[in-house]
């Protein structure tokens, strides 16, 4: 049975890791490599933007985020002059880049937003002067979370760069890969594109990952958008519909683990590609997996050891739902608590719909947007062997004495994801399995006893 608990519905109070709207802009635009971000606001928010921008770097590119130097006096008197000066330097290729960028995006923090800073006006002025396109996004932290910021930015992109299209449409646009909730998302999305290509599905655009600004003009050539988030994005969907590109809004399970990968790929291949190719590809991928693990006693040992253990999962709704299914279906691990984070009700609803069938064969509790406190207490009471979460909640669960594996959240920070291998897809099962083995070791190795029983030379002699 699946029990869904949502104390979040009773209150506006939250305690969860949800970066603000401007981070949605930074994550979207950092995948458009011939552009620059200018951040207008307070340094604490700027630091987060700088950190999360780096998610696009592995096998991707470096899009600078330049702060304008907003200080206390600017909060009082207005900081437009600093914004203008920074934009001009960037547009002239004198700051952060060596040549004028194709576009400059402006993000802002709460302080200039509440103060009513006219960032649109400044943008227009510098564009007129330098000829460089400058797009201002009203994306202060209080405007919403990272998903809302992504939506605001996608809308700007469609409004400013995408023309109506009457030609033939083929393939799909993959939308907002960084909202999947995987700490390995850069390598996961790259592999998902490989999977789709192998299944005859044309990936028209990944919005955004390793693009140039010119690439985004291809947007309306796709037959559909496949969002990699469960969040509702009505403004984006409406604009995209108007361009003739419908958006898949039902919750499609993400391809983590073999069962989920099969479901995800065949659904997309049957609709947008070549189902036969997809099936052949899955078989060939499975052959590759077998080359590593079949008849491998080491694998059999660990696969047997993992079976029947108890776990909890906590993360952004799409990834947390997929991992829950993976742990239960693929590894025979009983997931007792699932913490789902989502900015919109639709996000939680789609994830619970995906998890609902598990209720016939597994008893577990789903917490919708829990506080860390609720999550920690629920996990403690469930007496699980380990938790899969993000780096930010590692100290919480380790504080309860529960082993923790950080696979969720964003690529940054302290995730050791330097090997460009996916967690997604059939191929990714090898890495997922390896990661889960490590945390199960942490749960069951008797390391405290080793310390107590360690041999001490001379100890016990009279």
């Amino acid at each position: 049975m699946m029990d869904v608990v949502s104390t979040a519905a009773e209150t506006k109070m939250r305690d969860q890791f949800q970066p603000g709207a401007f981070i949605g802009t930074i994550l979207t635009t950092s995948g458009i490599l011939d552009t620059v971000n200018v951040y207008h606001g307070v340094s604490g928010c700027h630091a987060m933007a700088q950190h999360l921008r780096g998610d696009h770097v592995p096998n991707g590119g470096y899009v600078p985020v330049v702060g304008t130097g907003f200080l206390e006096n600017d909060a009082i008197m207005g900081g437009a002059k600093k914004l203008e000066q920074t934009l001009r330097l960037v547009a002239q290729g004198k700051l952060a880049v060596k040549a004028p960028p194709q576009c400059i995006w402006i993000s802002m923090s709460d302080c200039p937003a509440v103060g009513g800073e006219d960032i649109e006006g400044v943008a227009r002025g510098v564009t007129a002067e330098t000829g460089v396109k400058i797009i201002a996004v009203e994306n202060a932290g209080f405007k919403g979370g990272v998903a809302r910021g992504t939506e605001l930015t996608l809308c700007k992109i469609l409004d400013e760069f995408v023309e109506p299209y009457d030609g033939e449409r083929e393939g799909i646009n993959l939308i907002a890969p960084f909202l999947m909730g995987s700490a390995n998302w850069p390598f996961d999305i790259d592999h998902m594109v490989e999977m789709l290509k192998a299944a005859g599905v044309k990936v028209n655009l990944v919005l955004s990952r390793n693009l140039s600004l010119a690439d985004v003009k291809r947007f309306p050539m796709a037959a559909a958008n496949v969002p990699l988030t469960y969040e509702e994005m009505p403004d984006f969907v409406k604009r995209s519909d108007a361009l003739g590109v419908p958006t898949l809004t039902d919750g499609l399970v993400l391809p983590y683990g073999i069962g989920n990968s099969e479901e995800w790929l065949l659904r997309l291949a049957d609709e947008y590609g070549d189902g036969k190719k997809a099936r052949a590809y899955l078989l060939s991928e499975m052959d590759e997996i077998k080359k590593v693990v079949a008849r491998n006693f080491n694998f059999s040992w660990m696969a047997s050891f993992l079976s029947d253990k108890y776990a909890a999962v906590c993360g952004y709704a799409p990834f947390a739902a997929a991992l829950t299914r993976y742990l239960f279906h693929d590894l025979n691990i009983r997931v007792k608590v699932v913490g789902l984070w989502s900015e919109t009700e639709a996000g939680v609803q789609r994830a619970t719909e995906i998890l609902d069938p598990l209720g016939d064969s597994l008893d577990f509790t789903v917490l919708a947007n829990p506080t860390y406190f609720e999550l920690g207490e629920a996990v403690k009471n469930a007496n699980v062997d380990f938790v899969v979460g993000s780096m930010q909640d590692k100290p919480l669960f380790k504080g309860y004495g529960i082993p923790h594996l950080n696979l969720c959240g964003f690529y940054y920070f302290n995730n050791y994801n330097f090997i460009p291998w996916p967690l997604a897809g059939v191929k990714g099962s090898l890495r997922l399995f390896s990661e889960v083995c490590r945390v199960v070791d942490d749960a069951f190795y008797e390391s405290e006893a080793w310390k107590k029983l360690n041999f001490v030379p001379g100890d016990g002699r009279i």
């Binding site: 209150t11 506006k12 109070m13 939250r14 305690d15 969860q16 890791f17 949800q18 970066p19 603000g20 709207a21 401007f22 981070i23 307070v42 340094s43 604490g44 928010c45 700027h46 630091a47 987060m48 950190h51 330049v66 702060g67 304008t68 130097g69 907003f70 200080l71 206390e72 006096n73 600017d74 909060a75 600093k82 000066q85 920074t86 700051l95 952060a96 923090s109 709460d110 302080c111 937003a113 509440v114 103060g115 202060a140 932290g141 209080f142 405007k143 919403g144 979370g145 506080t371 860390y372 406190f373 609720e374 930010q392 909640d393 590692k394 100290p395 504080g399 940054y412 920070f413 302290n414």
Partner: protein
């Protein structure tokens, strides 16, 4: 004219450099150093400074969820992971556009009641953010109206992110807020000594389960060496530990930037005297710190005996280190990203001077420099140090290149020792790498030495630093096989390229 000179940089003695700078956050300053904004903000400091150090205190953020994410994204998590601070529960009023327009006091009241009921902390601190502060939400009135519905003590600490330069004025402002949480002393422990200004670390010792602490042990060693008692090491512990801080006879200082504002406020509120020397590092630096305390407590004889005995233990190591580095230039890079926190780097400079090195301080952003008056007092007025500092534009936080600094000073790889703060040390295989230029990690973020203070203080910290310097100098003798990090940042990652590069440079 050197490259740095052409870019508008010049060396000035510390005090003269400070005096040469205009007032911060003025048009004149912004002209001199365009694009400065810092790395953190007052809200970030408040939520880490208060919440994480005191394990039974919950900080309620009145603002958007994004503000708590900005703290959790790196700082709170990093402090938990590497400095043994507890996980920070961070309930937040999740302020949205509607609340910005209509006000969010009802949500704040609801949040405070929930936190009191569910989390049951001893103390709740309400911090506001840029948005809630700017709309003038009346937090005090919300707290006053809670009445008996909330059992915990609730305190409001204004903390909008935009207020003050992040590493100077914003920290200064917190001193009175910390002192305001303390109770007037019932009794004064005549042997009790506090250490103020330890940030970034808990008071837990390695004996209590820390993997890499050593800082508390270092101060306990110095204080107990005089027959005195450690009363409180701040900020750390729980609410009761914090509120009874004024029961010590005297406050000593770890870092001026974090310690002086609290010490001043405690002096004003409770009459607690305080001593101004900071960062006991190096043989003389440690002795000076100990003697200042000894003189105040009337323990000079014990101090002479104690310091002599401790110095004797380190003397041969000191001599060995001095032999290797005497006459070298000490390249003191404050920080390539934030260009802040120069007090600790100047303490290493002082240690370097004791070893016969000549420190040169650079990548100290003029805004951070000017806004940290307490560090200047500690370093210059109290200790009399006045090393050369590189003053210049540092536009948009761009650090200067250490190879340009070396060229400017006319020194080669064998004539210097490079130390750095924070993350991102400079390295480029083929020209500047730990394999050919001695590089020692002085970053409090990165330095961890088992059984020693990672902040480098006390005799154990000094000994570890000497050993580290010796090892760095030895490592740089190999002149080949650069580090992975240096190769990644270089256009000449392989050694077969070095000869070609030198050839190109010579032609």
């Amino acid at each position: 004219m050197s490259k740095l000179e052409a870019q508008g940089y010049r060396w000035l003695p510390l005090k003269e450099a400070f005096d040469s700078l205009p007032e911060i956050d003025t048009a004149e300053f912004n002209e001199l150093c365009p694009g400065y904004e810092g790395v953190w903000c007052r809200y970030l400091w408040t939520t880490t400074y208060f919440q994480q150090f005191f394990h039974d205190v919950v900080v309620v953020t009145h603002g958007p969820l994004s503000c708590t994410a900005a703290v959790k994204n790196f700082k709170q998590t990093h402090y938990s992971l590497h400095s043994a601070l507890p996980f920070a529960h961070s309930p937040c009023t999740n302020m949205d556009e509607n609340a910005v327009i209509m006000g969010g006091t009802d949500i704040l009241a609801d949040t405070l009641k929930r936190v009191d009921r569910e989390y049951r902390p001893k103390l709740i601190i309400v911090t506001d953010t840029c948005a809630s502060y700017m709309i003038h939400d009346d937090v005090d009135a919300v707290i006053a109206n809670l009445g008996a519905e909330v059992e915990a003590k609730v305190v409001y600490t204004p903390s909008p992110g935009f207020a003050g330069v992040q590493c100077g004025k914003a920290v200064e402002a917190m001193g009175p807020l910390v002192a305001a949480l303390m109770d007037p002393p019932k009794d004064i422990d005549q042997q009790g000594v506090n250490v103020l200004g330890v940030y970034y670390d808990t008071r837990f010792t390695e004996a209590e389960g820390r993997k890499h602490g050593g800082n508390t042990e270092a101060y306990a060693h110095l204080i107990e060496g005089l027959g005195l008692k450690v009363h409180r090491i701040m900020n750390a512990g729980g609410y009761d530990y914090l509120r009874t801080t004024p029961e010590a006879r005297v406050n000593t200082i770890h870092t001026a930037m974090w310690g002086y504002p609290v010490a001043r406020a405690m002096e004003e509120q409770f009459g607690t005297p305080w001593l101004k020397r900071q960062l006991p590092m190096g043989l003389q630096g440690t002795k000076d710190w100990v003697m200042e305390l000894a003189i105040f407590m009337g323990r000079e004889e014990e101090a002479e005996r104690f310091t002599k005995a401790e110095e004797e233990k380190l003397l041969s190591l000191f001599e060995e280190t001095k032999k290797l580095v005497e006459g070298k230039v000490l390249l003191v890079e404050c920080s390539r990203n934030s260009q802040a926190k120069y007090g600790e780097m100047l303490a290493y400079a002082r240690l370097g001077e004791e070893l016969g090195m000549q420190p040169y301080v650079y990548s100290l952003h003029p805004m951070e420099f000017k806004s940290q008056i307490d560090d200047l007092i500690a370093v210059n007025e109290v200790e009399g140090m006045n090393p050369p500092v590189l003053i210049g534009p540092y536009p948009y936080h761009q650090p200067v290149n250490v190879e340009d600094v070396m060229a400017d000073l006319g020194v080669n790889e064998d004539q210097c020792l490079y130390i750095y703060d924070d993350v991102f040390p400079y390295a480029k295989s083929g020209s500047f790498d730990p394999c050919n230029v001695p590089r020692y990690t002085t970053s409090s973020q990165m330095k961890r030495v088992k059984g020693s203070s990672f902040l480098g203080v006390g005799y154990a910290g000094t000994g570890a630093t000497y050993r580290g310097i010796i090892e760095s100098v030895k490592a740089a003798r190999r002149k080949s096989k650069p580090t992975f990090y240096g190769r990644v940042w270089s256009s000449t990652p392989f050694e077969f390229q070095f000869a070609q590069r030198k050839e190109r440079a010579s032609t």
